[in-house]
């Protein structure tokens, strides 16, 4: 599994406009809706679920990376999006540092294995500081998409 297997290309945001935790989560979910993946009240429902999950413990895993996520019935396969905030967002991360790269995941209720493999994939990609730096400076949706396709596959 590569990040490009579950990231919705049209929803990638090379520069977020929001500057707060709730704001960036909202902006990322909205990008999935705009890309045609969510409808009606689903985006708001998903934003609320993701914020509730964040209250249980931040998904900021360190190195300026966060993986906000939830399970939701509106999707029948795991989807996600990637966004960059150049100034950084306060996220109560494990290392206390602001977050510059976000990977938001929405997964079906009944596929925990896919969610675990997506987390693995994101963590494995982000272990390389160079990869995180490249994402931060990518500047465009296409440049980010190209990086996601290059990310290492093997253990």
């Amino acid at each position: 599994m590569r990040m490009s297997d579950f990231v919705v290309r049209e929803a990638i945001q090379p520069e977020l406009t929001a500057t707060t935790k709730e704001g960036v989560i909202r902006e990322m979910v909205e990008s999935l809706r705009a890309a045609g993946y969510l409808k009606g009240g689903e985006p708001e429902d998903i934003v609320k679920a993701i914020l509730k999950r964040e209250q249980l413990g931040s998904t900021g895993i360190g190195r300026g990376v966060a993986i906000p996520h939830t399970k939701h019935n509106s999707v029948d396969r795991l989807i996600g999006t990637v966004a960059v905030s150049t100034p950084g967002v306060k996220f109560e991360s494990v290392d206390g540092e602001p977050v510059n790269v976000l990977v938001l995941l929405v997964s079906p209720q009944d596929k925990p294995g896919d969610h675990l493999r997506a987390l693995e994939n994101v963590a494995r990609s982000m272990r390389e500081d160079g990869f995180v730096r490249s994402l931060r400076s990518a500047g465009s949706r296409e440049a980010i998409w190209a990086l996601l396709n290059e990310a290492p596959l093997q253990w």
């Binding site: 399970k71 675990l116 693995e120």
Partner: protein, 110 residues
């Protein structure tokens, strides 16, 4: 679910103290997802001992949340916990308990 405690002194480990190891089966239906992994890394960091987690041929630093995520351990996976150092006897059961827990303390698996 939890195998009996096994003890062995490893000559390869440079640190003082013995290496204690135990194989544990992931009990959580959602697998060893981000929250239990974060709880594990945080607890592991509270001990002076080195902590490693192994699943099949994947061996990672048990104090690194990011590395624990490499394991993608689903329910039923067997994880080998190895703890080396003076506080290993205290650390091992505390860490094993987190993997063997069928749910998070608050019952919320989101």
């Amino acid at each position: 679910m939890v195998s009996p405690l096994s003890r062995s002194v490893s000559k390869r480990e440079p640190m003082n103290g013995e290496t204690l190891r135990q194989t544990v089966t992931v009990a959580n239906p959602q697998g060893f997802h981000l929250r239990p992994a974060a709880a594990f890394a945080k607890r592991a960091a509270q001990f002076q001992s080195t902590v490693t987690l192994t699943r099949d041929d994947r061996r990672v630093n048990g104090k690194s949340l990011m590395e624990i995520m490499f394991l993608a351990a689903e329910q039923g996976s067997e994880l080998l916990v190895e703890v080396t150092g003076g506080d290993a006897p205290e650390a091992l059961p505390a860490l094993v308990e987190i993997i063997a827990a069928p749910s998070m303390d608050d019952g919320d698996e989101s």
